[in-house]
Structures are given as structure tokens and as C-alpha cells.
Symmetry: D2
């Protein structure tokens, strides 16, 4: 399923980086941040922003934000402007609403009594409305509808209100965490430090790694430890080249301080007793890059397990198994392996789709999919095809693909979906179509196969998905070694609200 067509998408990606060792650094911090933005581009294409700090006292912050893809928003001039940073944070934003304006771009930089802070936020505060009233009652005016501005004003408002050079930002962040349970993965930059903060339910991902020796000054390798905090963990890019070593996830409720001197876990704010973590299960299904690692397991592997579980739950009498490239491929390979059917490609993607200004309301509109996919006819003509997709949100993407395959000679097309139907809205930062737009809530869902033109349609069960996700969790393995001191406490839990309607916290309105 294509992001553009699914109508679902996460709000943001955040990334930060601190040059270790002596400053001014030999490391091009702004350029590392740019690479981080590119690696997070799939989490937000509306706008991108970077703020760097020189780390001095008082610090000089430099910001650049722009609309569109990173490649559009960041010119050579922008990078030049940012070049004196020794640390920095950045943000990519997804267009969740019609209001896509530059002033909503993150990170936010705000001047407070104690100096300037910069904040980048991924998530959505479930009690945002009540918190807005609270700060406004205090006399604060809010110039955007963004949770990030709200967060910065909450941080600024926290007592004590004295002009200090070294205010207790950690106390302020802890206070913030008591006021709002979820969802947020937050980077707060102040002077020469970045605080990486994950909400007590761990709803959004956040992890920490270390930059590769590639960026070390070859002459003083031993001194150059460089750290970064990033969300979600596209870390394998960074493990081998950007990051010398993937370190670990930030724990639910944890505040981690990252400075030139290293990484330090400062505090873990706990959930109400009895509450489990609620890490978004759709990160596994759909949002995260397949090379991400969450809870000690690679997302690609989880998707393969989903495919295998789907084959167990919904076997098919068919000739071949195939994928809607590229996101459903691991699940398709898992399904093929479990079912014993051969995995054969039936569609190729056109790399150059882009937008074309075909007038709407014409017959040509139906051809959207033809621009995107070519049918590898000889691979499936006369055959019964099991086509794996990762999710079906509205049902208008898969339908023309089935038509394409059938007209090109497929004997049967059976759709197997490697996740359960989405039925409920998300209030934790994922942009999901309204309940009415979701195919699973429409009358047509009763005969979904007929509606989309398939010979049969089966979804993975919620139980199947949860077990496929949770069976591989490995908190204590090598990859997560810094968590070892916490291993006894670590509990497992996922948010399945969009599938089940069970939200991790009570919703306030």
C-alpha cells in the first residue's frame, strides 16, 4: 500500500546529534542532521527543519526550516548558515491537516527567562485541549495549534521563575511528563545538551546510537565519541556508516541527557500502576522502515512473521504468492515460506511516478495505478495468485491493481492482508481517515472481495498480529546492552487502539 494513497501517516520524525570531544568540532553537524532528515523523510514530507547550537554560554542557535522534501528545503546556503553548530536537532513533518504553513514547522526555538530552548516533538498530546486552556489561563497567548508550542510554553511556565544561568530543565521536563501521559518522543536542546524524552507509555519510538568512526578525526580516534538520538530507529544506516554502534531504545518514561561527554540516563517517570506500555503496533505494520529495530527485533523480521501467521490463519488454494511492491514484500516472503507456494513477482514499479496534472473527473483518472505499476504478465498469466498487501485502509488502491492483473491474464487473485482492518481513529499522532472513510466501517465491507474485484480477501487477526510482534521481543540481547540494568522491569505492551478501540489512557475532551 502506498503512503500517498493510504491516507494514513505519522506526523513526524525527530533526530538529534551532539559532536563529542573538543569544540569547535571537526564534524559537520548540520550535514549529519541533513542525512538524518533524509533517513526520516518517509515519516514526513510536508516540511523539514534543523536548529543547531554552538553550545556556548549563552548559546547561539541557528535555524533553517522549509516546506517540502529535505532536498527542496535545504539549499547550500541553508547548510552554510547552520555550519557553526556543535550539536543540533531536526524534524520532518507530515501534512496531517490542510494547514500546511511554515510557521508550524519544527523545531521550535523559544526564548525563556532562563535562555533559549529548542524543541522537536513526535506524537500528539491526548490532553492537549485541557493543557491549552491551562496555559492560556496563565495569560499565555498561543500562536499555533501545534503541540510543540504548547510543550515549550509548559516548560517555560514551570516554577521557579527566577533568572538563572543553569535552570533545572530536567525538573521542568519531569513536571511536563506528570501533566500529560502520552504521546510524545521529544528532543529538548538547551545550550550544550540534548534531552531525549519518551512518554511513560512509550507510544512513539525513540532510540540512541553512536556515530561511526568515519566521522572521527583520524588523528584522535580515542577521544571522539559522538552520540545521537533518533526516532524511529533507522539505525542500521547509521550502525554501519553513520553510527559506529546502535546503542539502545530510550525506555518509556525515560529522560536521557546527551552531551559531548556522553549519554546519561537521568530519570524514568513511571506509568500508573498496572498500566502496560503502549508502543504503537502500526510502527511494525507500516510506518517504520524495515531496517528499524524496536524492542530488540528487526521490523522486516516482524513483517515476515506476520506473513507466516497469515498463511497459518488463512491458507489459499493457489499457484503463486506475490507482493504489492515494496512495502508488503517481507510479509509475502513469509507467506510463501509458510505455505510452500513459490514467491514470484507480478508487478514492477515505475520509479518516476510524480504528480501529473491530469484533469480530474476523466476516464484517465482510473489509470493512476497504471502509471505506478507494470504487470509482469508472463509470470502469472493463467495462474491463481495470492497477493499480499500490508494493510487496506480505504480500498481504492488495491482495486485497480486487481483489475490490472486480471486483464493481464491472472486466473484468480486472492488478497491476503498482513494486518487487521483499521476501524477506529488514533489520537496519539497518527493521521487516519475519518471513521466513515475507513473501508472496514462501510457497508461494502460485508462483501469486500466483490467490492474490490478479488476472488477472496482475508485479514490477519488482532491476536495473530500481536503474537507475531511479541514473540520476537528480546530486551536483553546484545543489541540492547545499555538496557541491561533495567531488564528486570521491562514489560511488554502495544497500542492496538485503531484496530480494537481500546486506548491506552482515558481520552479527555
Amino acid at each position: 500500500m502506498e503512503f500517498e494513497e493510504s491516507g494514513i501517516g505519522e506526523e513526524c520524525g525527530v533526530f538529534g546529534c551532539v559532536a563529542a570531544g573538543e569544540w569547535p568540532t571537526q564534524l559537520e553537524v548540520a550535514q549529519v542532521l541533513t542525512l538524518g532528515l533524509v533517513a526520516l523523510q518517509h515519516r514526513g514530507q510536508e516540511s523539514a527543519g534543523i536548529v543547531t547550537s554552538n553550545g556556548a554560554s549563552p548559546p547561539t542557535y541557528t535555524a533553517h526550516k522549509g516546506m517540502g522534501l529535505v532536498s527542496t528545503a535545504f539549499s547550500p546556503e541553508a547548510l552554510t548558515k547552520l555550519r557553526y553548530g556543535n550539536l543540533g536537532i531536526c524534524h520532518t513533518r507530515y501534512s496531517t491537516t490542510g494547514i500546511s504553513e511554515l510557521q508550524n514547522c519544527q523545531p521550535f526555538v523559544v526564548d525563556t527567562l532562563h535562555g533559549k530552548i529548542a524543541v522537536a516533538h513526535n506524537g500528539e498530546l491526548v490532553n492537549a485541549h485541557a493543557l491549552r486552556k491551562k496555559v492560556m489561563r496563565h495569560g499565555v497567548g498561543l500562536s499555533t495549534s501545534s503541540d510543540s508550542e504548547l510543550i515549550t510554553q509548559l516548560l517555560a511556565l514551570t516554577p521557579p521563575m527566577e533568572e538563572l544561568d543553569s535552570p533545572d530543565w530536567v525538573a521542568r521536563i519531569k513536571n511536563l511528563m506528570t501533566e500529560t501521559p502520552t504521546s510524545y518522543s521529544l528532543l529538548v536542546m538547551f545550550k550544550d545538551v540534548i534531552y531525549a524524552v519518551r512518554d511513560p507509555y512509550g507510544n512513539r519510538p525513540l532510540c540512541i546510537g553512536q556515530l561511526s568512526r568515519l566521522f572521527s578525526n583520524p588523528k584522535r580516534v580515542s577521544q571522539t565519541l559522538k552520540w545521537c538520538s533518533l526516532s524511529p530507529s533507522v539505525h542500521y544506516i547509521f550502525l554501519s556508516l553513520l553510527i559506529n554502534r546502535y546503542y539502545r531504545e530510550v525506555l518509556p518514561g525515560e529522560i536521557v541527557q546527551i552531551s559531548r561527554h556522553g549519554v546519561k540516563s537521568l530519570s524514568v517517570v513511571s506509568r500508573p500502576e498496572g498500566d502496560l506500555p503502549a508502543f504503537c503496533i502500526f510502527e511494525y505494520v507500516y510506518f517504520a522502515r524495515p531496517d528499524s529495530i524496536f524492542e530488540g527485533q528487526m521490523v522486516y523480521t516482524v513483517r515476515q512473521r506476520c506473513g507466516r501467521q497469515l498463511a497459518i490463519e488463512s491458507p489459499t488454494n493457489a499457484d503463486i504468492v506475490s507482493t504489492v511492491p515494496e512495502s508488503a514484500t517481507p510479509a509475502a516472503l513469509g507467506y510463501a515460506e509458510q505455505s510452500g507456494l513459490p514467491y514470484i513477482e507480478v508487478l514492477c514499479k515505475n520509479r518516476y511516478v510524480g504528480r501529473t496534472f491530469i484533469q480530474p473527473n476523466t476516464r484517465l483518472r482510473q489509470l493512476g495505478v497504471a502509471k505506478k505499476f507494470g504487470a509482469l504478465t508472463d509470470n502469472f498469466a493463467g495462474k491463481r495468485v495470492v497477493l499480499i498487501d500490508d494493510s487496506i485502509v480505504r480500498g481504492n488502491t488495491i482495486s485497480p491493481i486487481i483489475k490490472l492483473l486480471k486483464e493481464a491474464g491472472a486466473k484468480e487473485v486472492h488478497i491476503r492482508v498482513a494486518s487487521p482492518p483499521i476501524r477506529f481513529p488514533c489520537y496519539m499522532g497518527i493521521n487516519i481517515p475519518t471513521k466513515e472513510e475507513l473501508i472496514a466501517n462501510k457497508p461494502e465491507f460485508q462483501d469486500i472481495a466483490g467490492y474490490i474485484g478479488a476472488d477472496s480477501v482475508k485479514y490477519l487477526t488482532v491476536e495473530g498480529l500481536v503474537s507475531a510482534v511479541q514473540e520476537g521481543i528480546a530486551f536483553h540481547n546484545e543489541k540492547d546492552k545499555m538496557n541491561s540494568n533495567n531488564k528486570s522491569d521491562r514489560k511488554v505492551g502495544h497500542c492496538t487502539a485503531c484496530l480494537t478501540g481500546k486506548y491506552p489512557v482515558e481520552l479527555e475532551w
Copy 2:
């Protein structure tokens, strides 16, 4: 003297408009605001913004802001987006600092406990630094360095803090006026009303007019009274076509309410006893359009008087009087008239100058002026020329013009400047080069004629300027009739700080 080269410039222009009569209006408010922006374009080319309100309860505000000229910043889509406004305010911004980002664009719209307000500001708060500390001590974070954001947070902070449908914005504005003496001309829009506010010293211009019948619905002329508040008074454009009737200036310290029902003077906040008004004298000399009316007199006429006064103070033994087109032309005509010398044009302007990417540090750089002006050789070859300029700030604009004239055959070139030398910085909203950059503070000023290559150079005296400005003030004439009830109180005073170093209020740092 050209704006681009002088290095001086005012920060902003503000304009507002309320459709009178029944709503939804027949009047295209957003388009009237766009015309207002164009008319104010000379006061700011960095960015432009419009906010409209539908006037409902609660109101819906729509905003559009963009970098660059109005023609760049406002697309048809932007105008479509703004089309449901029944009232609105707008703003053009001058690039006073290197930080020219969209987030500094005005008007600001801020959500407060009592609803959203929109604010547009022209000027600079002399005690901004202390006020920033004050609001930050209250726990407010400030996301820009803009006085306008500071003003909106000050308005939001004022007690009482209760959620009310009809908060007392006038009390809040009065409170603001007690906290900061100058300089501001302010438009505050709330729901269905615009408050036009001028600081007690009247440092920045602000006036009120009425839209022309052109915009009336021809079927119900009598009902359609439409009002607008604008700064500075480019009203003659509006008098004849846009404005049926120029109304009057907002008085120093006055708050005027403009609604669909008309214009109402709510209050006048007074200055400390003994203080005179301090209207910026450089509005007359340089910033305002020549068709503006301040204090009952046309700016063009004041400039002619400056030219006459200059001829009295500094007569010249010469053959012809001429102008550096176009801003110095009224003064040149005044000088010619007073001196009895013929007025003859010696320079023509190239309409299409634009930016060319000529590499700096080359001999070609000296040719900048050649792109801008052509010499009308036959008009002055062999003659002694008195060349009038309106001001000399750095001295690097006039020098190549003199060279151009001399090489083309002028026998002598005598520079007469229709204003005194600028020697001091402005803290009330005018962007003036640093003291060191001002030619009048440099050693070269001792032999300014030699430095710029002229045969002689003379400036208007401060006394001469003040008398040329003040002799024509006519508060009680027909044009200012709504002021008649205040006429007994009206005092005359102008800010000459950049010429004399005497600031209207004590400067706090």
C-alpha cells in the same frame, strides 16, 4: 536618494479595513487589503501578510503571509483563501536585520483565553528589553524577536484571567499603553472590531478614511459606510478612488474603534505633563509618499518648502537647478522657485534596474549608478548645476552621480541637501546605519565636497527643517474635521533624534 542604497528604511506599513453595512459583505475585503498593501509597499518589501475575520462569534480568522513583494507573496489561491473576510488587517515588513524569515511576518494571530486576536504593528518599543524580561518572568516563552509578539503576549497577560466571551480589550490596550510610551501604531482585530492605536507621542503616523462609493453596492448606497484605518496616509489614492473621504489622523495616545457601525474614539492616553508630541520628522523628509497628508498638510508641499528654505539658507551662484529623481524633485522645484534659477532635468532613470549578478570587487561595481541613471547631456553640458538631494546618509550614492555629470560636461556641480545630516541612531522603528557608517560622523565629513567630488555641499539646518515642517500645520482645516472637538488641545512637536540626539523619552536598556 534611493531606498535601496541609503541603508535607511522604516520597518513597516499597516492597513486595515472593515466592511460597513450588512454581512456577508458585497465588498471584496481581501482585495481591498491587497490594494492597501501595494500602496504601502514602499514601507516594506521583505514580506507581507493579511489576516481577515468573518466577524462571527466565535470568529474564523484566515491568514496568508509571504516573503517578498505583495505581487510575489499573494497568489490567486491566497486571495481565494481569504475571501470570506468581512474585516481584516495587513502588514508590510522592511528587512531591518539579517533575519528575514517568514515566522517574523505580521500580522500575528494569537489564541488567548478570551479568543483569538490579530495584531499588526508599525514602530519599535523603546523599552522592549525590559518588557520581554517581564513577560518571560511570568513564564511566557517568546518565539521571535518581534515587538509584535511581545505586544500580543502583553495583551494576553493583562488580568483579569477569566474565560469571557467579551473581554475588555480596550482596558488591556490602555494597560499596554501605560507600560510602553512609544513607538507604535497598532491595529488590533478581535472578532468584528478593529482597534486603531497610536502611541502617546504620536511617533508613527496613523489615520482613518472612508472607502469610496465605488465599493458601495449601487442598490443601497445610503447604507454602505465603509471605514478603514491606515498608516501612513497614502490616502489620496484612496480619497478619490478607494476612499470616498479622507477622515483624519488618529491622535497621539488615542484608541479608535472601527466596526461595521462606524468609527468611534474611545479614549486618549496622555503623555507625561510637559512632553510634546514627537512625530517622526523623517516621515516628511523621506519615508512618506509625497501624496500623504500629515497634520493637515501634504508631504509634497512640505518638501517644496524645505527646498525654498534651503535656497534661502544656501544660495548658489549657478545656471540651473536639478534633482536626483524622483524623491528630491519637490525640493528641487522649491529651490528653483525661490532662487529664480531655471529647473532643468539632468538625469533620467532606467525603469528596469533590478539586481544583476555582477561579481563584486571588480571595476564594474562602480558602474552601479550607470545602470540606474542616464545623463541628459545637452541639458547641462557647460553649465553650473545645483543638484538637490533629499538626504545623504553614507555618501556613496551621490558620488558616482556627480562623476557621471562631470564626465558628461557639467562645469560645476553643487550639492544642496534638503535635510540636515543624520548623526544619531533611531530607537523608534527606523533602521539607520550604525553611527560609524553615517558619513556625518566620519572624518571625511570635514571635506564632504572633496570626498564626493562636488564643487560645494550644503545641508538644510535643523531649525530650517523644523520651521519648514511646522509652518504649514493646520489641524483645524476642513480635511481634519473629526478632530475639531480636540482642537484646543492639539500641540505641535516632532522627533528630530537622528539629527540632534534628543530622544522624546529616556531610553531604557
Copy 3:
């Protein structure tokens, strides 16, 4: 009258420059050409192009062309690309038709049997249609509708067809001149030489000057003679700064060779016996910059004479004389001088007009003029105004200006036009509205004063214009000294076809 609104405009400007002395030159040829383009910008805003040659054997030519103003079309990269040129030609193009595409941009560079030539053309071939057929009959395909491409193919086609290193381009140019009588001012660049060619009727202007010492290498002044050919003569810019010395006009029918070694007149192709020259009289009235010199006289001065002649032909019982700024100002000053009435400004221009996306078909449309002009009310209220315009083409520009003045209090507005009515199309390179669009051909012209809302309207007579133009012609004066050997032959004649319908040559179709 504004160019944009008049609907008339010339097609092009051409400019060329050869660095004198040793090569590679110390002179930034591409940058001089860019300044030339800016100086010619008023003759064409659709597109601009530069071609430079390194002058080697075989030569390397470098070209850059772009849509829009010079400042848009020429980036620093473009200038860098062109920097190795020792000579070059350039061109600005006016949008005469709807087809405004980059492929029509000049100069054209064409590869021929004898090497590459570059051609820039100003004008329009009266027998283009027949010539196109001729070359196509020879088997040539033409890829544009441009006369310039046609000219280059005609040059390429001329026998003899042998591969030579030094083909006789002058013979080919002479042959071209026998095939088409008018109108063209042409620059042909081949290897290290530019040929400047003016058609036998001299319909388009073309002149030659010498670059200023500013561009000389200060160490070897005596060696550095630099020449340039330019059209039309915006030479005074160049005289004083760019050009050390204005040289002279290219004669009708003359071919001038410009090389690093100097300027050489090669040949003069004659007109049919009895035919007079036909220099476009509208260059004086409207197109040329006022500082241009044609036929020994300054355009500004001719326009003043037109104003004086108009005052003699059509005196007015009025109080003041004024101008529609800026193009009509010299005529207005002439009228004032002759009539004895005072010259007083009544309108000021808004420098920042630009395009605004006001929706058409609304009442706001009438306000176009209000964006452009402000009324200097106090200067004319209650007075009878004589308003001078340089021409009235369609009549829809002057009408709202009159309305503006009347609403602002003018007692009477009398329009005096410093040129005769335009009634006929131009086939020599000027874009004039269709006969039907010209106000002088409409029924409304019978009561033109009533139509545009004036108290009276009078035009200059054709005889008056011709005498105002011709009385100051001075071929033998100092400014034109290189022509001295030709002075006995020089005849005077102007093309008045758009006013009288008398074309200089028979039109072929």
C-alpha cells in the same frame, strides 16, 4: 503612457562589445554585455540572451538565454559560464506574440559550412514571407517563425559553397541586403569580429561607441581601445562611464566591422534612387530612452520641442501644465515654457506596482490606476489643468487618470497629446494593436474628450511632429565626427507609416 498598457512596443534591443588590445582580455566582456542588456531592458522584457566568443580559430562560442528580465535570466552561474569571451553580442526581446518561448530567444548561433556564426536582430523583414518560401524551396526547414533564423539561413545559403576557413561574410551580408530592404539593425559575430549592419532605410537605430578608460588596464592605457556597437543609443550611460567616447551612428545601409584592432566602415549599400531614409519617428516619440542621441540630437530635447510645438498648435486657457509621469515630462516642460503657464506636478508614481492577482470582472478592476498614481491634491485642487501625454493608443489608460484628478478637485482637465493619433499597423518591427483596437479608428474618436472624460483633447499634427524632429538634426556636429566624410550625402527622412499609412517600401505579401 505606460508601456505595459499602451499595447505597443518595439521588438528588440541589440548590443555587442569587443575587447580591444591583447587577449585574453582583462575586461569582463560578459559583465559589460549584462550591463548593456539592462540598459536596453526597456526595449524587451520577454527574454534576454548573450553569446560570447573567445575569438580563437576555430572559435568557442558560449551562449546563455533566459525568459524574463535580465535580472531573472542571468544568474551568477550564467555569467561564470560566459566568462571566457573576448567579444560578444546580446539581445533583449519584446513579447510581440503569444508565442513567448525560449527557442525564439536571440542571439541565434548557427553552424555553417564555414563555421559558426551568431546573429542578433532588431527589426522585422518586410518581405519575410517571400524569403521564407525561397529558403524552403532550397530545401531548408525553418524551426521558428523568427526573422533572425531566416537571416542566418540566408547568410548560410549564399554561394560559394566551399569549406573555407575565411569565408567572405561581408559579401554574404551585402547579398542579404540586396534581398531585403528593411527593417533590420543586425549584429553578426564570426570568430573574432562583429559586423554591425543597418538596413538601407535606416529604419532601426544602431550606433557605435568606445568603452571608457574605467575598463582599461591601468598599466597599458594607450593600448586599450575598446569598441562596442549598440542599439539604440543609450550611449550617454556609456559615454561617461561605460564608453569613453560616443562615436557615431551606423549609416543607413552601412556595414561596420568591429574587431580588437578598431572600427572600420566596410561598405554602404544604397537605397533605390530617390528614396529617402525612413528612420522610425516613434523612436523619438516613445521608444527610445530620453538620453539617447539620434541624428545628432538628444531625444529629450526633441520631446521638449514637440511640447512647444503642441503649445503653438493647441494653446489652452488654463492655470497649470502637468505631466503623466514620467515619459511625458519633457513635452510637458516644453509646453509650459512655450505657453507661459506654470509647470506643476499633479501625480506621483507608486514605485511598487507589480502584478496583483485581483480577480477580473470586479469593481476593483477600475482601480488599476490607483495602484500606480497618487494625486498631489493640494497642487491642483480648484485649478484648470493641462495634462500632457506622449501618445494615446487605446484610450483606456488616460481615462481613469482624468477621473482621479477630477474627483480630487481639478476644475478642468485638458488633454494635450505630444504626437499624432496612431491609425495604421507597422510592418517594420513595432508591435501595434490591430487597427480595430486603435482608439483613432473607433467611432468614439469623434468625441474623444467625452469618451475619456476630459474637457478637451488635442493632438500634435503630423507636420508639427516632423518639423519638431527634423529642425534639430545636425549630422556634422562634433558628436558625429566619424561621419564627416559622408556628410555631403546624408539625407533626412523619417517613417511615419503608423500615422499616415505611407510605408517606406512597397509591402509584399
Copy 4:
């Protein structure tokens, strides 16, 4: 291997379409052409152009061309402009040289004695230099270095030179084909007909299909036969949705006429006796989309066979087989199948790579690949990997991928390349790096494995490639039925010049 990095690429894609049945057509020809451009985008991203004809007598042609991707070059305005076309041709261009200017964009439209023709060309004339001299000797000037302009001038030059309404274009095309043997796939549009022409060696692909019923007017299906000619055959997109029926390839040397009345084979120009066809074998290896069909077989299938052949020639002692996504995937699946090793993905692609303005010459440069690929670590850590690539041109793309895999834990990485080393330049339209840049010609090739950091490197043999390509050729199958009348004549042959240095024709210089 990525196109962008390989440094090789074909010059162009061409596509045409004629609406069948009654005109004006119900079919949106310009929009079908736009979809065709998108489908051919992989063959050229520098520029794109469309020319449509209304088919009238004389015809009106409308053209639009733009730089960049189709989505950039074609705005809604462009499509509106083109909307009256009943037939049309289009072209995408690859940036083969530094000179990437709009004037080189195709299709070319040229006015000839017999009317306007439009030409789109894919390929490169081997004897271009001699042909250019020939036309220039005839007196033609050439304004571009493009073969397409040369082709149109050759067509225009062919006798007889009489002004005719119905010139014999077919004779002119045949004449052209006798003057140049290869390589060209050509679309020539004249009035209401498109001629599809393939050179006698069939070096470039060209095929014909029929548009789908989707585009038929549902009311008169039987009447609406619509045809299109396209290169290369991305027809399966079109088979099912755009094209009702894939028809056949144009034969080497064939001229096919496509009109509203259908498709007609006019002539087949033969090769010199004994010469075989020389279809570019790299179309199979690399250029064509995998869903293309050439010579009766699907490109994807050929690539699978190459992988199998490679497994036979170069077996590997390893654990898993994988691909450099996405182009090498069919070969990798073939290799896995043949070798019996499991196919497992080791890399995932970042969809949002784009250009980032990272400064060159820094350590960050090496990270280019990290932006593009993520390592699926858990899938290969500790394993011996056979990594299949489709070709290695310069060797600088594969090297960082190997490093990425090794650092992420791969035990061994064995590179198997599904094509032979490229050693020779192409003069038939493929842009290949200079001989010196090709890794196979460098000393480092002796130890290519060491150079790129692999444990071993093996290439497919030329014989292996040729047999993998030729074993599946099926001229007589169902898919190619219109060829049936020619089947006896059809010979098989491929151009392997870049691998072997054996060119299909003698090269003239």
C-alpha cells in the same frame, strides 16, 4: 545498479498516439501522451516534450517542452494548451552531455516547403558528422548539435522541391534510410499521420499497440480503434489499461503508417546482404523496464535466465543469494533458483533520497549510499552472501554497499554480475563513460574483488548473455501476430559492441 551512478544511460524515449474514429476525438490525446511520457521517464529525465496536431489541412501543431521530469515540465496550463490535438508525438531526453538546454528538447517542429513536420528521435546516427557536412554544403545552417535537427533538414532537403499539398514523405524517409544505416527509432508526424520508422539494423526498440476500450466512447465501441506507437515497449501498462491489445514490434527497416483509419506497413528497407539485425543487447540487461516485451519475450524473464546462466557459469559456496534492489532482483531470483540457495533480502531502499546539498570533498561523501540503502542486518549477519548486480560500470557504487554489508556483519560478500564487463564506447545512442573511466579497462580490474572489497567477483560471459537472450525469442507466438506474414524472413542478431568492440556497421568519422 542505479542509473544516476552508473554513468550510463540511453538518450531518449519516444511515444506517439493517434485517436481513431471521428474527430474531434472524445479522447484526451495530450493526457494519454503525458501518461506515455511518465511510462518512459526512466529513459530520460533531462527534458520532455509533446507536440500535438489537430490533423486538419493545413494542420495546427501545438508544442510544449520543459526541462526536468514530466511532472515538473507539464503544468495544467501546458495540458490545456495541447488539448485540441487528435494525434501527437512525445519525447523524453537523457542528459548525455553538459549542454542541457531547452533548445535541444524534442520533438522538433520544422516548417518546410510542403508544410510543417514534427520529428522525435531515439538513437544516434553513426555517420552524423558526414551528414552534417552534406547538409551544410547545401547551404543549410544547423542551430543545434542534435541528430533530430539533422534528420529533419535531411527530410526537407530531399528532392523534388515543389510546393505540394501532399508531398511524398515516405519517399523522403526511405531516402533518409539509405543515407544512414543506424541507429534510429523515429516518429515523423505530418498533418494527420504518424510514420513509425525503425532503422534497418533494428538497433533501438519500437513497437505498436492499441489503446484500451477504457478510452473508447462507450456508445460506439466498434468504431473506436485507436493505435499508438511506442518505444520501448512498456506495453503491459498499456495492454491491460491503456492498450487494449499489444500489437507487435516495428520490424528492422520498416516504415509503418498510423492514422485514424488504422495501422499500415508501408515498406521494409533492407540491410546489406549478410548483415544480421543488431538490436541493442543492453536493452535486455539494463535499460528497458522489466515488463517490456522484445522479440516475443518479457525482459524480466530474460534477466531471470541471465541469473540462472550466471549460476551455472559461476557457482558460489555461500549461504544466501540477494539483490541490489531493484533492478537486479530478477537475476538474483534466477541465480537462487538455479543454485538452490535461499533468496533473502539484505538491503532496503530509502524512497526519499533526492539530492542533498552536502558539500563535496568531505568525509560525508562516502555516505551517499547510506542515504539510499538500509541494511536488513538480521537477515545476513554471520552469513556468506552472494550479491547479484546487473552490471558494474565504474565500480564506485558497489563498493560502499559491500562495506555496508560487511560492517553490519556479513561473513563473506561474493559479487556476481549478470552481464559481461563493458569495455568499449557506444556510438548508437547509449551514453557510456569514456574508455578510461570504465572499470574493466583500468589496472584495478586485475584485482577487482580487492578493489571493491568483495570476497570474489564473477561476470556473466558474452556467450552466456547472448544465449540467455536468444533462447527465448519467439517471433511467431500469439503476441506478435501481425508479424506472421514476415515470419519466414525474421533473423536474429544483437549488438554487443560495448562488450566486444564488434560494431554492426563500419564507423565513419
